[in-house]
């Protein structure tokens, strides 16, 4: 009984309160890292005390206890400094919009002086309310390593003043990073990124924040179909669309429409909105054959137009566009598009995988098999490597001739 209540407090109430209480402390002028430590201690105390004595106002309770910890910490530094006592009785910070607090904290955690890995870790802990252990699990590193990364990040922020609005583009990039790494681990980082992006859209009118949320929702909706029960990757054209989450697709489309509605003439369309539009077109059709490739190609044209030199600055967009070109103008045209990328990403597995796909579309399974095998050798992820080996084997079977050169190459499991 008590366990269930602790669980509920932990997951629901506590995690939602973390950014609000922390933002209150930092706004009051506390150092970010010291405030974060104090709040972590207050959270531990809450887990111990609340099951027996639930507070009337959990947020005020946490603020008071965290403040007490701050005072204790300062006392031990500066012995008997009466001045510090004033903090104790200070009124709790005026209630602000929760969204404001989230945005404020995201700007702190995504400070440009921090490396991306640190931005991500700090965001998950300070805004997402995940424990260091959970974050370590999500990234498959020892807990001590993640604790060190977080504490170094906080040290970097020590003494920084957070009175300037931060760079929203960095915040969006960090949330997208959280989303993209979040599909395989034991902790649902993808869900966490969506939750944070949803909070962010409450705090800012910026269309790109909505574009990012829409993109995440429209991709996440396909997650249940992306792996089969044995854990094998299923490509978009072969997914069971009945498994897609229609509620998430509907929300994603709605959010995207609201982004495009507030988009004004003089503002350039942002990349997340464009990518969301492409995802929406895939999500919108009942079978792969009905995919509206000309429309998708038009959006890819917009996407590559966002950078001066897309081949160098945004090769992923050019590669995605090559697939659309392959469907609209023919596989050979698509392959020519990938040729432009050879110098830039010709060593990457995805470049070879896309060429395998286009060769298949071109009715050339032998070239497809070779490209897939090449991609498999360069893959950096077991699920993708296995998938590419299967694609190669499948294409080769279609090709018929078994080219058994007897290399001394055992299967590498």
């Amino acid at each position: 009984m008590i366990d269930a209540r602790v669980q509920r407090l932990d997951e629901g109430t506590l995690r939602a309160l973390v950014p609000r209480v922390l933002a209150g402390l930092v706004r009051r002028g506390e150092d970010f890292d010291v405030a974060e430590d104090a709040l972590q201690e207050a959270l531990l105390e809450a887990l111990r005390v609340w099951p027996e004595h639930p507070p009337r106002d959990p947020r005020a309770w946490l603020t008071t206890v965290a403040t007490r910890r701050l005072v204790d910490a300062r006392r031990s530094e500066v012995a008997r400094h009466r001045r510090e006592e004033t903090t104790y009785t200070e009124p709790r910070p005026a209630a602000t919009e929760d969204g404001d607090d989230t945005l404020f904290l995201l700007f702190c955690c995504c400070h440009p002086d921090l490396a991306p890995a640190s931005q991500v870790a700090l965001t998950l802990r300070a805004v997402g309310g995940l424990t260091t252990r959970e974050i370590a699990d999500a990234f498959y590193v020892p807990e001590a390593t993640m604790a060190q990364r977080i504490s170094r990040a906080k040290l970097t922020l020590r003494g920084r003043r957070f009175d300037q609005p931060g760079d929203l583009a960095v915040v969006l990039r960090v949330l997208y990073l959280v989303y993209t790494v979040g599909h395989t681990g034991r902790v649902d980082l993808a869900g966490e990124a969506i939750r944070l992006a949803r909070q962010l859209t409450l705090a800012t009118q910026e269309p790109e924040a909505r574009g990012l949320l829409a993109l995440m929702l429209l991709n996440h909706a396909r997650l249940p179909a992306r792996l089969d029960p044995a854990g094998r990757i299923v490509t978009l054209d072969r997914q069971d669309r009945g498994l897609w989450d229609t509620r998430e697709i509907a929300e994603g489309v709605r959010v995207l429409q609201s982004a495009l509605a507030i988009q004004t003439e003089e503002r350039r369309l942002g990349r997340y909105q464009v990518e969301a539009a492409i995802a929406a077109l895939h999500d919108d059709v009942a079978s792969a054959e009905e995919t509206d490739w000309p429309q998708i190609l038009a959006w890819y044209d917009d996407l590559v137009a966002l950078t001066e030199d897309p081949v160098r600055q945004d090769p992923a967009a050019v590669l995605g566009r090559a697939v659309a070109v392959g469907h609209v103008l023919g596989a050979a045209a698509g392959l020519r598009e990938t040729d432009r990328l050879r110098e830039v990403i010709g060593e990457r597995h995805r470049w070879h995988a896309v060429r395998g796909y286009l060769h298949e579309l071109d009715g050339d399974p032998s070239a497809a098999a070779m490209a897939y095998a090449e991609a498999a050798r360069r893959a950096t992820n077991v699920a993708e490597r296995d998938h590419l080996v299967r694609q190669a084997a499948r294409a080769r079977t279609g090709w018929g001739v078994q080219d058994w050169c007897c290399q001394r190459m055992p299967c590498s499991g």
Binding site: A393, P410, G413
Partner: protein, 139 residues
Amino acid sequence: MPKYLLLKHYRGGPEPHRPVPPMDQWAPEDVEAHMAFLRHVSELLEKNGEYVDAQALTPARTWVRYGGPDAAPVTTDGPLPETSDLVAGWYMIDVESHERAVELAAYVSSEPGPGGEPLYEWIDVREVMSDAPTGTDPA
């Protein structure tokens, strides 16, 4: 309980008992059977309480050494990049004895290859040195 690494190689090691083409040239059903067996091995080790870790390595290799003061690191892909030993991955196991490690390695090596026949792949069995001194004084 001693820990062992069961190392799989992309190349190197004794002469293969059964030469086979690369896996992307196998029949699709043979590929499936092989991958299913590898999953099964991990599950079996976990169920036995013998599993510690399993990892795969990409085949790209860079040898690196200190370049000296104020010099960039020196890198190479090594002597004989086409034929030298290249580790592909491992199982780390925690078992009762060396005999048990050998037994498990042989089982890993029985993984199905082309035609569903065992691969007879050579597995490199290495004991991991433990960190801590034992509870008794050395003689």
